[in-house]
Subunit: 183 residues, 2 copies
């Protein structure tokens, strides 16, 4: 039996990422769980920042950002970055995260995160208090430890964090490949 | 040691959903893994359809769609709907999914999916061959079996499917609540 409920955001679970912005000196980190891929032809990804945030100001100023994909080993730092405000505290100091120089953008990558995606801000789609920031992927940095024998990302080795209803979840082993149902 | 790779879409894992469209008679189902929440104030969600798709035509025609969130029990059907074309086959017949009448939109909900989100098409953000369809959430239907004692969705009971690199993953138990790192 289904219950009808009023409108709410129920598109979950979504991956938790850490977005870094700034000029390499005055930097910030924000935890974001509303993200997706946007375009395949010219690879673009999207992150959503709700309301007024220090990171939003920095991204608007520098027109670039980095998406750092953490693993479960970074979970405590992820939670801290989601609960503090970057205009009041230095989240690199607070978490102990190390700044790593990016190739094409001024903002720093988080060294401890296994995947770093350098992005140029292409556009902002505004919907009421929400800002969907669309970033063109410039460069991808992947920790060799999470690559499989074919040089592709092994998501099990990444051990990503997904988020739903204020709870962090790890993944079990992958159970089927796309196309298994068509055989 | 990190390896620098060329630009690609690496925002994963993302939840797999089934989007239904049509008029309740001429209907289609499409499997989509590029999704997110967009806006909290007026709850809006986003789904991305890449390239020419029958579902895209139906959604543009009727200005509405339904996001059906499947559980692992629906995995085979999810895979089938992702590998077949709705202008050639009737995916309801192919999968055995049952049409359930929605409250506010003409398209059918998939009865077997524990969550159905009725949406009105608010806007389409086009980026090259990609279409980000933004839907205003009208009604949410939740199977009582996946609710916890407080009437909220229990994502462990939902047993959702997340997707990364052509592989379907289930979730382990949630391991921490938001805010645990701040204590």
């Amino acid at each position: 039996m289904k219950k009808v409920m009023e409108a709410t955001n129920a598109m979950f679970p979504l991956p938790v990422v850490l977005v870094t912005s700034g000029d390499g000196k005055k930097d910030n980190i924000i935890t974001i769980a509303w993200t997706t891929n946007i375009c395949r032809k010219t690879p673009c990804i999207g992150i959503i920042i709700n309301g007024k945030k220090y990171s939003l100001d920095l991204i608007k100023e520098h027109k670039e950002f980095i998406v750092n994909i953490p693993g479960q080993k970074n979970l405590k730092e992820v939670d801290i970055c989601g609960g503090k405000h970057g205009d009041k505290v230095d989240k690199y100091k607070l978490t102990g995260f190390t700044k790593e120089k990016a190739k094409e953008v001024k903002a720093s990558m988080i060294k401890e995160c296994p995947i770093n995606i350098e992005c140029k801000l292409e556009d902002i789609y505004v919907k009421e208090t929400s800002n969907l920031l669309i970033g063109k992927v410039l460069k991808l940095h992947i920790d060799e430890k999470i690559l499989d024998n074919n040089g592709k990302i092994d998501y099990k080795k990444l051990d990503p964090i997904v988020y739903a209803q204020k709870t962090y979840f790890p993944l079990k082993e992958g159970i089927a490949k796309r196309g298994f149902g068509l055989k």
